[in-house]
Symmetry: C2
Subunit: 533 residues, 2 copies
């Protein structure tokens, strides 16, 4: 076999390899051998098509859709702000004497028909563009964790702006994490404007992948847009290739508009930022405990948001962000790592496909506090089911713990392997004449060596059909012993330190950063030293 | 909410609860509250129906079937023993001048039609009976690990007879592990007869769930049968309710009969033991590297076995045991925790359904050496996909590490939670009028409190729709901190020690054990003291 096993310490696509690809001679040749294959022959890649798992039957999908239309028509939404009322009543919604906006079926169905679909969420680097379509699957981060998980000290500490920047640049080099929505809140930056602006700054300077972020209030969007336009080289450039989307909790479940978020939504639509219409009810608390009911409510809420966006600006890119969460009904606490969560998320993926809308939901949120076996199975089960469902955007898929309360940089590195495994599962099984292997089996059994080691087919498929973990350990007990029993957490810690010491992305040039710092002055809180500048 | 959270230290169905259900008064009432619900209203139970995940399309299934028939007809099997040749040629197979037995399509198709299906694998206790049918899913152990994983010392040591007995009694009390196939080899018992006999003895005295075991040679089956007949209270009783099946590697892939195992197979069929027809090729080594090809070979091999069993005794219960494994093609080592393994196993589940035969395959085999995050996602992903595929018998699903080389008692306890989660996912989503929750949502939004806490629906579904882990941790970071950061491994170690100190199953009575020890004398190696007798 001609391909060397990847050293577990240098997964493809991490800082190490990126560096060596830039230098010449022997290093370059070595890097070439270890370099990822071209996209079309790699065993996994962004946008693989799922859909082999279907939690809901066609009849179920229809029933849910009908229930949704009934709810929108009869229950509707409370707490709309004046501009929302104006836009929606103009579009055909009715404002009841109880202050609730109700949505006639025709309005909802017409919106679904005409809404934006099959669009691209861009990276600053076009090779990270994601075509959001059909059952194409992408995995990424998300969240608003208030803690960073310190694996070495086994403790939770407040998350900081630097942690967001560090998470961004780790994700920037991990092949199997396709986008970066801000996963933590910078607790060292209490002022909402400072927080919004710097969160976004840390994200977009930390990675050239697509970024998602939130804004606290409408007013915070303008300076952010100014920054984004500057980085894009002008407003038109940004509008042509928006590399940031707005994660927008426009709804307070059940069925109420969130006033501040609606203001943000309007400003983002205006400014050319795609909207993630995020409904985050919690089954048993702010959504029905029945799984189907939680799906119904989430779909109704997101469709209301879709009507809203399209009433303001027809065809504005919006993601069908049904994110129902789960309560542990014994305690009321959220349980992101539960089976019920996996089912909810998978059902939502199908509802997005039912409407042929770009869908995003959450998976990978471990209840466990640390990267341990519990967090492994919670993340693995929820993420693979989301992917097999063909969910377009799997948010929260990497790094998250404690049901969204703690984010872990080491887990990002481990989860990159797990997500690679999920993606290989999503890719599925090729059943072709060659893959059925009749001739290969006959040859091996009747004329051959009686085994497939070194067989042409084996060599051919080694790189193109099989996925290999970067830091995951496949040693035999003997090898494992001889290597002093390597521990995956220690390996992840070491890899994290290496990346953070070495990887300082430069897609936002020093010149632009100079301009941003001149323009925004003290508003920018991330010191240049911390960015390796 | 009226139901108390289960104490993480006493999962339902473990020693603690079993004991208390036997005592009276206040203890009994407390136990009643914590006791499992009746089967039909429990959120999960053995035999839930999968099938929502389909790795293969209908066309794929047909292509694989065609390839299988071609292979059996043209390549056939080498190394048949005389009795096998006699039975198979009598049935219609042809012996070529190259010594290979070939199977005409009509013979294979006729066998498939007439083979045993929809049968029950019995437990000694009938409440552990498993109806193997359609897409009903059961999870259990299996394997022939040569090491026990010592979690406290972080080391692999040789596995012993006592470990098998301990594993059996741990599984006996874990609700989400439905059968016990011997997972380890007793390295302290080198003699093959001693080993086979005592392995079985440790299994059937350790648990009243269905047991699977192997025999080294034909001659070892007779004393085992004598033991089993004695425990059953007579040969007829055992034949009516066989609570042991024979895990039989009758094939040495690719496409050769295993001589000793075939002798064992014949003796087991004769003695009334159901056969697990186990084909364990390894893709890229003893099976094609192409996933579809590995499935084709496995199906061909198992169907040959099925023809063999039915040629000896038409309608004898046999499990369609396509167990293709995966090689890491860089090293040739087995990788049980890989994505490719998950796909292979899921495809095999569908092939069994294609034939409407009772199917068993392997999932849950972690590559990782210890119960860590890697083992968690490897086990979770492979097990949930197997279950969602509707695999009837998911072997190796609990306790296994190092790609079958190490078995871990603590992992059994943790995996019981993971398998509960998988089963909840298999159960899926109920979409009924009530579950769609239109009225509930309307009431909460329009007239209600604006949330679902304490709602009738929430209270009703708390116990019947939601699965709760027994030792898995859903604390908030604050609670986790206050409880001194509980570690799942420490909790599993403590629970294991408690079970092993307290749980000594007595379904095989002292009187029968006396008779066995009188009859078999020194052949029985497990001391009574070690069995709490």
């Amino acid at each position: 076999m001609s391909v060397t096993a990847e050293s577990p310490a240098s997964p493809p696509g991490t800082a190490n390899e990126m560096r060596s690809r830039r230098s010449g001679g022997r290093e370059a040749r070595r890097a070439m051998r270890a370099a990822p294959l071209a996209d079309d022959v790699r065993p996994i890649r962004p946008g693989l098509e799922g859909g082999t798992y279907r939690a809901l039957s066609d009849a179920d999908l229809g029933s849910i859709h009908e229930a949704v239309l009934t709810l929108l028509e009869t229950v509707g939404f409370a707490n709309a702000i004046p501009s929302c009322i104006e836009a929606l009543t103009r579009a055909g919604a009715t404002l009841g004497t109880d202050g609730r906006l109700r949505f006639p079926r025709a309005l909802v169905e017409d919106t679904i028909k005409r809404a934006a679909r099959n669009f691209t969420l861009c990276g600053q680097d076009p090779r990270h563009d994601m075509l959001i379509q059909g059952r194409r699957v992408h995995y990424g981060t998300a969240g608003a964790a208030v803690h960073l998980v310190d694996v070495e000290k086994r403790e939770y500490r407040e998350s900081l702006l630097q942690d967001i920047y560090d998470a961004a640049r780790i994700v920037d080099g991990l092949d199997n994490i396709h986008f970066f929505q801000r996963p933590m809140v910078p607790r060292d930056i209490p002022d909402p404007l400072d927080m919004d602006f710097n969160t976004l700054y840390a994200c977009v300077t930390g990675t050239s992948k697509h970024v998602g972020t939130s804004f606290t209030v409408r007013e915070n969007v303008a300076p952010a847009l100014e920054m984004l336009y500057a980085i894009a080289g002008g407003e038109e450039n940004f509008r042509a290739r928006p590399f940031v989307s707005n994660s927008n909790c426009f709804v307070v479940p059940p069925m109420k508009f969130a006033e501040d978020a609606c203001g943000v939504l309007e400003a983002c639509v205006e400014g050319g930022i795609p909207i993630l219409l995020l409904s985050a009810g919690q089954a048993g608390a702010t959504a029905p405990a029945a799984i189907a009911g939680a799906v119904v409510q989430a779909v109704a809420e997101v469709l209301a948001g879709l009507v809203y966006v399209n009433a303001i600006k027809p065809g504005h890119p919006a993601i069908f962000g049904t994110w129902p969460f789960v309560s542990d009904l014994r305690t009321g606490a959220m349980s992101g790592g539960s089976a019920e969560q996996a089912l909810l998320t998978s059902a939502c993926a199908q509802m997005a496909q039912f409407y042929d809308l770009p869908g995003g939901s959450a998976a990978g949120m471990a209840d466990s506090k640390l990267p341990d076996i519990q967090s492994g199975y919670e993340k693995g089960i929820t993420n693979v089911m989301a992917g097999l469902s063909g969910l377009n955007l799997v948010y929260e898929s990497a790094g998250m713990h404690a049901s969204l309360l703690g984010f872990c940089l080491e887990s990002l590195i481990i989860d990159n392997d797990m997500l690679g495994m999920c993606q290989r599962c999503v890719r599925g099984i090729e059943v072709s004449e060659a893959a059925l292997s009749i001739d290969t089996i006959a040859e091996v059994c009747l004329n051959g060596p009686g085994h497939y080691l070194g067989n042409d087919q084996t060599l051919k498929l080694m790189q193109t059909e099989y996925f290999y973990p970067a830091i995951g350990d496949r040693f035999s007990p003997k090898e494992w012993n001889e290597r002093s029993k390597p521990d995956i957490l220690s390996r992840a810690i070491a890899e994290k330190k290496k990346i953070l010491a070495e990887r300082f992305p430069r897609h936002v040039s020093r010149a632009i950063d100079d301009r941003l710092r001149t323009r925004f002055g003290d508003l920018i809180k991330l010191p240049r030293a911390a960015m390796g500048l």
